[in-house]
């Protein structure tokens, strides 16, 4: 684990950067002068500025800061695994100036105090934290949470993530109630009666490995249930971490019918298949589980045709002592913030599945549109909210270089291309010591 250092430069000049905003199209070469966090000049060439910290953007891309709409910061409850502050450090190193922590903390984020605490803890970092609050009290699926109060506290969406909202009736009511405020319900789609005791995708591989399976249809059933519920509630539905070909198809059909349904996918679900589980390494255990090549192909197709709106990491820190156990005994989840760019570039952009601006759209404009958050603009008078990265920088994933408190990832030792060089937001500057 590395300790992060943020700077707070009074004047910051970014020289020779190629600015690429998926809302504008085509990169343009700019110099940007920032004073105390606010953009004061955007010109083709800015020279002769005294006393400015200068970053050379030659060969790098400057983009609006990224947003990861699905992370777990484990605070309150498991501060040994991650805190809001360490999670924000990992987000920064991954290029994300915004992050949405899920409410499956201990206790669950179902009260305004916890939401306000999370936001306050992020104050000294370049990251805007937009918490997602529990849809039901304690995420138990029996009573609605106080949504109006939670929104006033800063919650941007509701979810019982970790589980689906327990019953169809409660899902309906949560959607109806949330729709009054135009906030989405984000659903972890899993029919629990079909996945109890499961450790991996139910497939030819689970049959071979003798691991209890979690069938893809358990996801599809809740995706279908909730799409049907959007029709009668008018609520906006966002499917978290979609992982099956059938679910992608269900979302595609819902969009064709004009329903307000969106979805996200994680980098590991477009990168790996359940074949990887053959090592019985618990860093390959996540929920939803890694699926088949057929599912990965459908996900890549869904990313390309716009069915899948967002890439989100489902950053899920776990301690080594929890993960370094028998596969069946380990908890679900892997960290993802610091490997997201590398996997997007190496697995999606380089092979030609997505153009770079399409990929960036899925971590900037798309999640902010879903959460009704403003899109950062490169214009005089605006807060500088920017990510500078080198799309070609090759690096090897090493546990010791992470800023997250945890290191549970199957990508250790992988060679990836694409690394963040600097992040600017809220007056803070972070420059990577590794690029």
């Amino acid at each position: 684990m590395q300790t992060i250092k943020y700077q707070k430069p009074e004047r910051l000049l970014i020289k020779n950067a190629n600015y690429l905003d998926p809302a504008e199209g085509g990169p343009r070469q700019v110099d940007v002068l920032i004073e105390n966090g606010t953009i004061v000049r955007v010109e083709h060439a800015i020279d002769g500025v005294d006393g400015a910290e200068t970053i050379d953007g030659t060969g790098k891309l400057l983009t609006p800061g990224w947003l990861d709409m699905h992370v777990h910061f484990r605070e309150p409850g498991r501060e040994d695994e991650e805190t809001v502050k360490s999670g924000c450090a990992a987000a920064t190193a991954g290029g994300f100036t915004g992050a949405c922590p899920m409410p499956n903390t201990e206790p669950a984020a179902d009260t305004r105090g916890i939401i306000e605490y999370m936001i306050a803890e992020a104050k000294g970092t370049p990251v805007d934290v937009y918490p997602i609050a529990a849809a039901t009290k304690g995420r138990k699926g029996r009573e609605l949470s106080e949504m109006a109060d939670l929104i006033e506290g800063g919650a941007v969406a509701f979810s019982d993530d970790g589980v689906a909202i327990a019953t169809a009736e409660m899902a309906r009511r949560a959607m109806e109630y949330a729709s009054m405020f135009d906030v989405p319900i984000i659903e972890h789609c899993e029919e629990p009666s079909m996945t109890e005791g499961g450790a991996m995708n139910e497939s030819a591989v689970s049959t071979r490995l003798g691991l209890p399976g979690m069938p893809g249809v358990a996801e599809d059933i809740i995706v279908a249930r909730d799409i049907l519920l959007t029709e009668i509630t008018g609520a906006r539905l966002h499917i978290a971490h979609i992982s099956t070909a059938r679910s992608v198809e269900l979302v595609r059909q819902a969009k064709q019918r004009g329903l307000p349904v969106t979805c996200e996918v994680t980098p590991h679900h477009f990168t790996l298949t359940d074949e990887a589980v053959a090592s019985y390494d618990a860093n390959l255990k996540m929920n939803p589980p890694l699926r088949t090549q057929n599912d990965v192909d459908a996900i890549i197709e869904g990313l390309a045709d716009g069915t899948i709106d967002v890439i989100a990491t489902d950053h899920a820190p776990h301690s080594p002592e929890e993960k370094d156990v028998e596969f069946q005994a380990a908890p679900f989840g892997i960290i993802g913030l610091e490997t997201a760019l590398g996997l997007i570039m190496t697995q999606l952009v380089e092979p030609g599945h997505l153009r770079l601006e399409e990929a960036l759209h899925k971590i900037t404009l798309a999640p902010r549109n879903i959460l009704r958050l403003p899109h950062p603009k490169l214009a005089v008078g605006q807060v500088a909210n920017l990510t500078l990265f080198d799309p070609k920088h090759e690096w090897t994933v090493e546990a010791s270089r992470f800023y997250s408190k945890s290191r549970n990832t199957p990508f250790l030792g992988w060679t990836l291309r694409g690394r963040v060089h600097a992040v600017i937001n809220k007056g803070f500057l972070w420059v990577s010591p590794d690029v």
């Binding site: 049959t207 490995l209 003798g210 691991l211 069938p215 019985y280 370094d324 156990v325 596969f327 069946q328």
Partner: protein
């Protein structure tokens, strides 16, 4: 020769043949007045049983003693995690006491594979969850080879709860490697998804399986599966999948009947059939010791040849 025996998937034919050949040599030694050899004298073997087991544990222990190894037994009810100590810590502690080999039985699939990442000693899988039970399949193959003469072309049907069976998986891999044909038979709810990937015949009717097979390997049916909704009742199971003399007679066949034990008499197999001329169940138990001696010897790194 691979260092560990984690399963039979991917184990080459020559290695299985060597294990079986060695096992037959040991079986001959076991019939001597003093059925003991000094082969593993000075070696220490720990039997780590995280799941209740009678016959497999005793069989391994006896095999170790017949080879003159020093043995230590570690039994834990429930998983290591529930005890508050991780499997890694348990095994590192045991290794610190200088063990040469580890025999492990665990309820979690892949637990032996996990062990190989924690320690240097050779690891022998004595059953991991519903994954593999390689020494059971080896003793089943030894018993068939002894009775029939060869495994090549033999038709073996495995009957019962295939979904939860490590015995079934190891038998499928081992028998197919040795050139036998394998079928599985049981209620559809107890056949794992995409079982056809194994290239096995699948029967949902026991009479079809009996007509097809030269040998039946009848698995124990566990009552707890009924509670999880996988089959309606033991009564219905016995009526539709129970192996009975009447069924064998109707098929007019002399089948070999195997069972890995323990037997539910009157459920998966008719009471007297288990003791009949068709049954090789007790031969399996005897061969179990010889096969485990062979595995322990071949994985021990000891190169001294057998007399």
């Amino acid at each position: 020769m691979q260092k560990h025996l984690l399963g039979l998937e991917g184990v080459p034919r020559e290695e299985i043949e060597l294990i079986l050949k060695t096992a037959f040599s040991f079986k001959e030694i076991l019939s001597r007045p003093i059925p003991k050899v000094p082969t593993l004298r000075g070696k220490t073997i720990v039997n780590l049983f995280f799941e209740p087991s009678t016959r497999t544990r005793i069989s391994f222990e006896l095999a170790e003693k017949r080879l003159s190894a020093d043995t230590v037994n570690f039994s834990a009810s429930g998983s290591s995690v529930q005890k508050g100590e991780t499997l890694r810590d348990t095994i590192r502690n045991i290794e610190a006491m200088k063990m040469d080999m580890v025999v492990i039985r665990h309820s979690a699939a892949g637990a032996p594979h996990f062990l190989t990442r924690c320690i240097d000693a050779a690891v022998i899988n004595a059953g991991d969850g519903r994954h593999e039970h390689p020494t059971q399949a080896l003793l089943d193959m030894m018993t068939l080879q002894e009775r029939v003469g060869k495994l090549e072309g033999l038709k073996v049907a495995i009957v019962g709860d295939i979904l939860h069976s490590r015995v079934a998986r190891s038998n499928i891999y081992g028998l197919q490697t040795m050139g036998a044909e394998v079928a599985i038979c049981g209620p559809k709810t107890l056949i794992p998804v995409e079982a056809d990937q194994w290239g096995v015949e699948i029967f949902y009717n026991i009479d079809d399986a009996i007509r097809w097979a030269d040998a039946l390997n009848v698995l124990r049916i566990q009552l707890e599966r009924q509670r999880t909704g996988l089959f309606p009742s033991l009564r219905e199971y016995a009526a539709h999948f129970g192996v009975t003399r009447a069924r064998l007679e109707a098929a007019q066949k002399d089948l070999i009947i195997m069972h890995p034990g323990p037997i539910n008499r009157g459920i998966e197999i008719e009471n007297d059939l288990a003791d009949s001329e068709f049954s090789v169940i007790l031969n399996q138990v005897t061969n179990g010791v010889a096969v485990r001696m062979a595995v322990l010897y071949l994985k021990s790194g000891v190169t001294e040849t057998l007399e």
